[in-house]
């Protein structure tokens, strides 16, 4: 087939309930020169028939059935079938704004240095979207520049995967999708960012992210908190913690202790804890002293901030700035 302006890559399994709405939102796009590559990963419900009926009516929709093989193999297979260098990811249960493809495509055309562009997202349906999810939505949408994305890169995944459009060549240059036990998308963003690729966000709500109990992020081990910590630690070891044998951890709570374990697994020990609790300052925990923030000095070694409570991260950043510490050099927020 001729090369379309944009390829849409989707992987689905048993998505009969929401798939028609997702496909209709693609059919309403103002950018019409696209191909939709849908890997049907062993669906056992009506998904295969739904895809066939849409493909019969519109040759741009190209379903590929494979026996159930998992998301990452499906994305790798799908990528091979994408003919454009501009790939928009999409899931079978979400909704695109009609101008989504057009705006992302134009953005990448106008910004040749950018490898990946996301958009603002909105969770729905609103009656089941909880406070924490709204907070995540707000946080993600606040990362409107490459620098802000990099600053918060290790806090959480800065992008909703099905909302992004990327250059196929850029993703292939860092090895493409891979499955090494944690979220394949976050792993990909980290590799792109650490390989100096420019990342961007269009600050307009062009993608609607459906919340429901069956979503993979709620059910798969790869999306557990522990898997996220291991993913972050793996990439930190290749960046801020490269050649380091020990770190300072800010936060002697459950999260801080969970981080200690993950770091130990990759050969990095904790040499100091930082905490503001007067009851903890001066104690020795797992062989490392707990000190107060004022003991910190620029250049005193990498520190990971494991304080993620709402508002607390900003306070920690203020304190670090007051002490002359430089973010992403002296310290980094990891939760």
């Amino acid at each position: 087939m001729n090369q379309p302006l944009c390829s849409i890559l989707m992987a689905v399994r048993n998505e009969e309930k929401y798939l028609p709405a997702a496909l209709e939102s693609i059919l309403r796009q103002t950018l019409t020169d696209w191909q939709l590559v849908v890997i049907d990963d062993g669906s056992t419900d009506n998904t295969t028939e739904i895809l066939k009926s849409y493909a019969d009516r519109d040759s741009r929709i190209q379903p590929v059935y494979q026996p159930s093989n998992g998301l990452v193999p499906a994305l790798i297979l799908g990528t091979q079938k994408c003919y454009s260098d501009f790939i928009a990811r999409m899931d079978g249960d979400d909704i695109c704004h009609p101008q989504r493809l057009e705006k992302q495509y134009r953005f990448l055309q106008d910004n040749p240095e950018t490898s990946l562009v996301a958009t603002n997202i909105r969770y729905f349906p609103s009656h089941i979207v909880q406070g924490g999810m709204r907070h995540y939505e707000h946080w993600q949408n606040s990362l409107v520049t490459h620098d802000l994305i990099l600053r918060d890169l290790f806090v959480e995944s800065p992008f909703t995967q099905p909302s992004i459009m990327y250059r196929k060549t850029a993703v292939e240059s860092v090895g493409g999708y891979r499955d090494i036990g944690w979220a394949e998308d976050y792993d990909l963003w980290l590799r792109l960012a650490l390989s100096k690729h420019q990342l961007a966000r269009i600050p307009e709500t062009l993608f609607f992210w459906r919340e429901h109990a069956d979503r993979l992020t709620h059910t798969a081990d790869e999306f557990s908190l522990d898997a996220f910590r291991r993913c972050k630690a793996f990439h930190l070891k290749k960046s801020l913690l490269k050649d380091k044998r020990s770190v300072t951890l800010w936060g002697v709570g459950i999260e801080g202790k969970a981080w200690r374990k993950v770091l130990l697994d990759i050969g990095i020990d904790v040499h100091h804890w930082i905490d503001i609790d007067p009851g903890k300052i001066g104690q020795t925990i797992h062989g490392a002293k707990v000190a107060e923030p004022d003991s910190l000095k620029p250049g005193c070694g990498p520190m990971l901030i494991t304080i993620g409570a709402r508002g607390a991260r900003d306070l920690v950043r203020e304190k670090c700035q007051e002490l002359g510490l430089i973010e992403s050099k002296d310290y980094i927020c990891v939760t």
Partner: protein, 199 residues
């Protein structure tokens, strides 16, 4: 009721939304709205509803306005020839606002104002249902709302964010309605449906 003056503006082909005391203009029918906490009809969903209503034959008809807010749709319906209607809103302040605006337009006798939810509506067989509320609420009340319209009656639904549009249409189609018009706007959408004549 606290109100403020604003510049009159046109809505649809026939109406002008104007504050109390505004001088009438030729060629437009005024809907007098005091501007309070619930706006006065500038929102794209309200404007699209008024535009859709202008094309309907409301003469002598009855209607239910669910989530009536300021009462603007009910007032427009009456001015387009409807005989009577019921306005209901869950917010007591909105009910008061609708009552006040209906008074300003001299039409309170034809409107019953209620504070509550769809469950509080005992009447059935309305010729029209207007519901400019949220998409997820429209999904939740679908069967009950369709049940309030008489066979072959009309539902005008709005306040539907883009992400709910497909499911609202699909759900109401499943409940025995036919989509007559689906209008997608900047952020919201408006759907006009006709209920099956045999339901």
């Amino acid at each position: 009721m606290k109100t403020e003056l604003y510049k009159p503006f046109n809505s649809g082909q026939k109406f002008r939304i104007a504050p109390p005391g505004a001088k009438p203009v030729a060629g437009r029918t005024d809907i007098i709205m005091s501007r309070g906490a619930f706006g006065s009809g500038e929102h794209e969903t309200t404007a699209s509803c008024i535009e859709a209503m202008e094309k309907l034959d409301l003469t002598g008809k009855s209607f239910l306005d669910l989530g009536s807010g300021t009462g603007i749709l009910a007032i427009a319906a009456l001015k387009l020839g409807a005989a009577r209607g019921v306005c209901i809103d869950i917010e007591p302040d909105a009910v008061e606002s609708a009552r006040h605006n209906c008074e300003l337009n001299g039409i309170n006798q034809e409107i019953a104002h209620r504070c509550g939810t769809l469950d509080d509506i005992t009447e059935k067989n309305f010729d029209f249902v207007f519901a400019n509320i949220y998409g997820d609420i429209l999904l939740a009340v679908c069967d009950d709302l369709v049940g309030k319209v008489k066979p072959a009656g009309t539902l005008l639904l709005s306040g539907i964010l883009w992400e709910y549009n497909y499911e609202v249409r699909a759900t109401y189609e499943k409940a025995g309605c036919e989509v007559i018009k689906n209008r997608m706007m900047e952020e919201f959408s408006t759907v006009l449906l006709k209920k099956d004549g045999y339901l």
